[in-house]
C-alpha cells in the first residue's frame, strides 16, 4: 500500500502529460521511482545509512548490502580516534527540504514540448534533485537547506527521437539544456551556472533505459544511454553476459554519464575503460546527430570522432544510444589480498605486476591509514573461532614476520575467468608479491577492501552528522612518481589543514587503484573534523585546491576518471595547452554555437 500511495503522490506531480493518459501513470511510476527511494541530501538509498545506535555502536541499516543490518564494533573507536570526533557532538542536517525560487519558464518551449508529447515537470523537488552532484559543498549546502540556481524544469525523453525533438525545440526557443544521467558527478558538472539567464532545462535520460538488442555473434549490445550501471549488468546477466564495466558508482551512474566523463571501471584490466568498451555512440547535438556509419571494431578515418564525445561532459549534446562490447559471464571469481611491510614495497610489487602485464581483473594497494580504515569496517564476528583465527593472523604478521602495524599496507585482488586459469594466475601474482615481501592475507580482507569503495559515500554522510567532512579525488601518474606524489599530496593536505586552523590532524590516505603499462591511477580520501571552523566548506575547498596543485606539480594528471566539470576547469589550459583548449573550443563553437548545452563544464 505504501507503494501505491507513492504512485499516487508521484502521479500528481506530472504536470505535462504524454501521448496517452494511461501511459502517463506508468511513466510517472518509473519517472520518479529512483528519486523516491534515494536520499535527497546524501548518498544512495534512503533505507541504507550508517548510524551510531544507542549503545554507541555503529551499524549499517537496510538490506541491500553485505554490511546491511550488521554491527561494526570497531568503527566508533576508529572514528573518534582518527578525527578527534565525539558522539556527543552532533551536526545533523538542519532541514528536511529546501526552498527554491519559482522557475523561470519559457512558455513557448513548454507549449511545443507538450505538443511533442514529452514528459516534464517543474516541481521543486524534481528540480532540486537534479541541481547537484555529490561534491562535498553541494551536499553540505543541501543539509543546511541552501542551494544555488536550480534547473527551471525537468524533461524525461523516452527515446532517441524524443531527445532530437527536445534539442530542436531548445534551439528554437533558446533554452539551456543540461543532460542528467545518474547524478553522481563529483566535479560540479551538474551545477547550474549562476550567470545563466535563459530557462534551464534538466534533460533526465533515466527513461531511456532499455537494452535494444544483443548481438551474440559479435558480442555487442545496443543500449539506451540512460540505463543505470547495475540494471545494465543485471539485465545482461540474465542473458549470460556482462560488460564488465564496474565504476565504484555503478549502482547509480548511467551509461551516458560514463561516456560523457570518460569513466573507468574497477575491472578495466580485463574489460577496458569506457573508451575501449564502446563500439558505436549516437549523440544528439544542436547541429544534428553524430554517429559512425558502421560497427567496425577499429577505423582509420581521421581523428576518432568518439573522442570528441567521450569526456565532453554534456557540453556538446546528449548521448542517446551506445553499442558496447559484452562478454560471457566469467565462470569463476576469486578475491584475494596481500600484506606488504610498507607502501614502497607494495608499489614496487604493483609495478612489477604491470611490467609483466599479469594484473588480475582488479588490483589495488591501500596505504596503512586506509588499511586501518578498512579494518574498522569489520563486522562483529559471530564465532570465537574466527576471532581466534584473526588474532592468530595478526600475531603471525606483526610478531612473527615483524611487520610494523603502522607501516604495513594491503593489496586487494580480484581474479576472474575460468577456474583453472584463475588459480594459475593467482599463483603467478602471489609469487611476484612474495619477491617484494608480500604475504597472502586471505580472501576476506580482499573482499572487504572492495566493499569500502561502495560504502565510502555512505560513510561520508555519517561523518557529516558528527562534524566530519571529506571527499575523494584521483589522478594518474607515471610509475616512477607514484611514491613521491602519494607522500607529497598526503603531507600537503595535512599541512594545509593545520595552516587553516583545522584542530585535529585530518585523515589523508590514498590507494593505488589501477595499474597501467606506463603508470597508475591513485585515489585519495581526505576528511577532517571541522569543529571550531566558521566556514568549513571554504577550508575544505582551499585544501582540495592545494592538493590538486600538488598533484599537478608532482607530475599527476588533472583527472583520471572523475572529469573536469567546473571544479577543475581553471587547470584545463595548463593541462592540455592553449592550442589544445582552442581545438576543443572550436568544436564546441561549431557544434553548439548558441551554447544550448550551457552547463559550462570543461572549457
Amino acid at each position: 500500500s505504501g507503494l501505491s500511495q507513492q504512485v499516487i503522490i508521484m502521479a500528481t506531480r506530472i504536470k505535462y502529460i504524454c501521448r496517452h493518459q494511461d501511459e502517463a501513470y506508468k511513466l510517472g511510476l518509473s519517472l520518479s521511482f529512483r528519486q523516491e527511494i534515494m536520499k535527497w541530501n546524501g548518498w544512495g538509498y534512503s533505507d541504507s545509512r550508517f548510524l551510531f545506535n544507542k549503545k554507541g555502536q555503529a551499524e549499517f541499516t537496510g538490506k541491500r548490502y553485505r554490511l546491511s543490518g550488521l554491527i561494526l564494533p570497531s568503527l566508533k573507536d576508529w572514528f573518534e580516534g582518527t578525527f578527534g570526533a565525539n558522539l556527543q557532538h552532533k551536526s545533523p542536517a538542519t532541514v528536511s527540504q529546501v526552498a527554491v525560487a519559482p522557475p523561470n519558464l519559457n512558455e513557448p518551449f513548454i507549449e511545443d514540448l507538450k505538443a511533442a508529447g514529452v514528459a516534464a515537470s517543474h516541481d521543486p523537488e524534481d528540480r532540486v534533485f537534479r541541481a547537484h552532484g555529490h561534491c562535498l559543498h553541494e551536499i553540505f549546502a543541501l543539509r543546511e537547506g541552501r542551494i544555488g540556481r536550480v534547473p527551471d524544469m525537468v524533461v524525461w525523453p523516452s527515446c532517441h527521437s524524443d531527445v532530437e525533438k527536445i534539442v530542436e525545440l531548445a534551439c528554437k526557443h533558446n533554452v539551456c539544456l543540461i543532460p542528467y544521467g545518474g547524478g553522481t558527478s563529483v566535479s560540479s558538472a551538474l551545477e547550474c551556472p549562476h550567470e545563466e539567464t535563459r530557462s534551464i532545462v534538466s534533460l533526465d535520460t533515466s527513461q531511456m533505459n532499455r537494452i535494444l538488442w544483443i548481438d551474440e555473434k559479435n558480442l555487442t549490445a545496443h543500449v539506451e544511454a540512460g540505463i543505470i550501471g547495475q540494471d545494465l549488468e543485471r539485465q545482461l546477466n540474465e542473458h549470460g553476459y556482462c560488460t564488465g564495466h564496474e565504476p565504484d558508482s555503478m549502482e547509480f551512474s548511467s551509461l551516458g554519464g560514463w561516456v560523457a566523463t570518460r569513466a573507468s571501471g574497477m575491472k578495466k584490466n580485463i574489460y577496458g575503460n569506457i573508451e575501449d568498451l564502446v563500439v558505436h555512440i549516437k549523440m544528439v547535438t544542436p547541429r544534428g546527430v553524430i554517429e559512425k556509419s558502421c560497427l567496425g571494431p577499429r577505423m582509420s578515418t581521421g581523428p576518432d570522432i568518439h573522442h570528441f564525445i567521450l569526456g565532453s561532459e554534456g557540453t556538446l549534446g546528449v548521448v542517446t544510444e551506445v553499442t558496447m562490447k559484452i562478454r560471457p559471464i566469467p565462470e569463476y571469481q576469486k578475491y584475494g589480498s596481500v600484506v606488504f611491510p610498507n607502501f614502497q614495497q607494495g608499489v614496487a610489487c604493483l609495478r612489477e605486476v604491470a611490467r609483466q602485464r599479469c594484473a588480475p581483473a582488479s588490483i589495488r594497494l591501500m596505504d596503512n591509514e586506509q588499511f586501518q580504515f578498512g579494518h574498522a569496517l569489520k563486522p562483529q564476528v559471530s564465532s570465537i573461532f574466527t576471532s581466534f583465527l584473526d588474532g592468530l593472523k595478526k600475531f603471525y604478521i606483526t610478531k612473527f614476520k615483524g611487520f610494523d602495524p603502522h607501516h604495513l599496507c594491503v593489496a586487494t585482488l580480484l581474479f576472474e575467468g575460468d577456474r583453472g586459469k584463475v588459480l594459475q594466475h593467482e599463483k603467478q601474482v602471489y609469487d611476484i608479491a612474495a619477491k617484494f615481501g608480500g604475504l597472502a592475507a586471505g580472501e576476506d580482507n580482499g573482499q572487504r577492501g572492495y566493499m569500502l569503495t561502495f560504502v565510502i559515500a555512505y560513510l561520508r554522510d555519517l561523518g557529516m552528522d558528527y562534524y566530519v567532512i571529506g571527499e575523494s579525488f584521483e589522478t594518474s601518474v607515471p610509475w616512477d612518481r607514484v611514491l613521491d606524489l602519494c607522500r607529497n599530496v598526503k603531507e600537503r593536505i595535512v599541512r594545509e589543514c593545520k595552516e587553516r586552523g583545522v584542530q585535529f590532524p585530518p585523515l589523508s590516505t590514498c590507494r593505488v587503484t589501477q595499474t597501467y603499462d606506463a603508470g597508475a591511477c591513485v585515489y585519495f580520501y581526505f576528511a577532517f573534523n571541522y569543529r571550531g571552523l566558521s566556514d568549513p566548506v571554504h577550508v575544505y575547498e582551499q585544501v582540495e585546491h592545494a592538493a590538486r596543485e600538488e598533484i599537478l606539480a608532482n607530475g599527476g594528471s588533472l583527472s583520471h576518471h572523475h572529469g573536469v566539470g567546473k571544479l577543475r576547469k581553471e587547470w584545463m589550459k595548463e593541462s592540455v595547452s592553449g592550442v589544445g583548449l582552442g581545438m576543443l573550443k572550436s568544436v564546441k563553437e561549431y557544434v553548439d554555437p548558441q551554447n544550448i548545452f550551457g552547463n559550462r563544464n570543461l572549457l
Binding site: 616512477d480 612518481r481 607522500r487 607529497n488 603531507e491 599537478l552 608532482n554 607530475g555
Partner: protein
Amino acid sequence: ILSYPRHPVLKKRDDFEDVLEERRRSSDLRYALRCYTPTLYKGLVPCKVSMLKSIVLQSDHLQCVIKQVSSESGDSTECVAEEASLILDEMAHRMQLSTVRFFVFTLSKAFKRLFRSVCVNEEGIQRLQQAVQEHPVVLLPSHRSYMDFLMMSYLLYMFDLPLPVIAAGMDFMSMKFIGEMLRMSGAFFIRRSFGGDKLYWAVFSEYVKTMLRKGYAPIEFFLEGTRSRTCKSLTPKTGLLNIVMEPFFKGELFDVSLVPVSISYERVLEESLYARELLGVPKPKESTSGLLKARRVLSEDYGSMHVYFGHPVSVRSLAEGKIKRSQYNLLPRYIPQKPSVDTHEFLNDAAFRLVRIQEENMVLKPWVLIATLLLQNPDGMDLSSLTEQTDWLRHLALAFGAFLDWPDHEACSEVISCSLALHRRLLSVSAGHVQLSVTDAPQVETTPEEAVFQRAVVVLSCASYRNQILHVFLRPALLAVAMQSANSSRKDDIYNCFNFLRNMFSNEFILCPGDSVQDFEEACYLLMKRGVLQVLEHEIVMSASGQSTLAFLCSVLEPFLQGYQVVCRYLCEETNENLTEKEFIPAVRSFCFVSLSSDLQKNALAALLRLKAVRKVKV
C-alpha cells in the same frame, strides 16, 4: 618568510647562553664519551656509509651520465664507472662517532683556551631540533674562519642534534692526517673548480642529493663558497644551493629546511693572515705542519664568539609562486637538466636573501664601532672624544637595527677600554690618545716600503672589523652619498644616483638584485626616523641636525669610492692594450698604495665588467 620586516629595527632576536660555562665545570673526557642520542628525521632511511656509496653509483642519474660520458669519450662504460667510483672515494666522508668524540674532547680544551665564551641562541637550537624531525635540513653558516665548521659540529653534538656532513674544499685533503680526521668527522671534499667535468658534477650532485633524500644527515655548506677575508659577506654561489633544492623541485622531497647560521668572532683567529693575503702575500698552503706551527694562536685571547641559529627557511615556501615544479613533468627525473632561467633567478635571489639573514643575525661587538671611528680618523683620537663618538655611533647603529652586543650596566669608557685591551695588537694608546699602529714593529730599521706594508696590515685588519657593520649602514650611506653627488633635492635625481651607486657596488656588498626601490625606501625611512631627512612627495630635504650623521655615512663609503676611483684611473691612464687579469692586481697595487686590498680591486673590476665599462678579450 624571507620578506623581512619593513622596519628592521623592530626585529626581535633571541637571547644567548654561554655553552663553555658548563665545559669549564665538568670533565671534558666524560663529556666526549657521553651517550649521544640525536633527534632524528621522521623519514630517515637508515643507511651505512658503504651503502651510501653503492646507492650513489647505482643511481639512475649517475648511470645515465656514465653512459653519456662513455659515448662521448669513447671509453667503455666500465671504465667511466670506475672513474666515477674513484671520484666518489676521493669525495666521500667516512663519518664515525669515535672520531667525533676525539674532536669534541680536543676542541673542548682548545675552545676554552681561545675564547672567553661561546654564546649560542638556544631558541634557535630548539627550532632546529624541531626542523630536523620534519624535513631534511641544510645548514648554511657564514664563513669567517676555519673554526666555523668545527664549531658547528661541536655545537650540534652538544645539543644532541644529528651531526652534519660538510662540503669542504679540497685544499684540506692535502693536510694528510687532519684531512682524514675531518673526513671521519663528516667532511666531504670537493674540488675547487670542475666547470666542464660532467662526470664529476654528476657524482657530486648525486652524492649530496642521496644524503638529503635519505635524510642521512644535515648537509652543511658555505653559501659564500670560501672564507671571507674581509669579514664582509661574499656574493653567494648558487651551485650547491641548486643541488639541495632540486629534490624538492622534482617532488622527491616534500620540503627542505634551510637554516642560516651566523657565526661572529670578537677577534678572528686569522686576522693578520687575511690582511697579508689581501696585500698579495700568498695564502699559506694548508698543511698539518703549518697547523702545528699555528699553535701560537692558542696562547692568545680571542674574546667571545657568537653563534646564532636563524629561523629555518622552507624551500617550499620560498619557491611558492616562483618555481613551476611541473616544468619537470615531461622528462624522466634522472636525466640532468640545467636550471632554467627562472630557476636560476630564483636561486640567486634566495641565496642573496639567505646571506642577508646571516648578516642581520651577526653579533657586533663594541670594537666594531671603535674600529669604524679609528679608520675615519687616521691621526688618532683622544680617548674622551672616542668615547663620546662611540656612544653616538652606538645609538645610530641601534636605531638602524644593528645586533649589537653591548654590555649592560657598564660605563661606556669601561667598555671601550676593554675592547682596546683585547685588540691592543692593532693600536697604540699613549697619553689618552688612541691611534692605529704597529706595536710589535721590528726593532731593526725597516725600509719605507716595509713600513707602509706593516701599516697596511693594521689598516686592513681594522677594516675587517669595520666591514662587519657595513650592512647596517650601507643603505643609508648610499643615500647620503647619492644626496651629496646628485646636486639636487629632487627625489627622482637622488634615486637615480642611489641606484647607480647601488649598481656599482653590487659586487662589493650584499644587495639583493631587484630590491633597489625597497632599499631606497628603507634608507629614506631610517634617516627620516632619525630626524636626518625630511622625505616629501618629490623632494628629499636634509634637516639642520642631520649634517653630522650624513657626513659620517658618507665617510663610511669613502674608502670604497676612493678605491674604485683608483681602479678607474688606473685603467684610463696606465693600461697598455693587453693587460691580463693576472697582472691587474699587482699593477693596480703598484699604481697607488691607497687601494691596497686585492678584494676591492677584484670587485671593482668585476663591477666594471658587469657594467660593460671594461671588456674582456680572450687571447
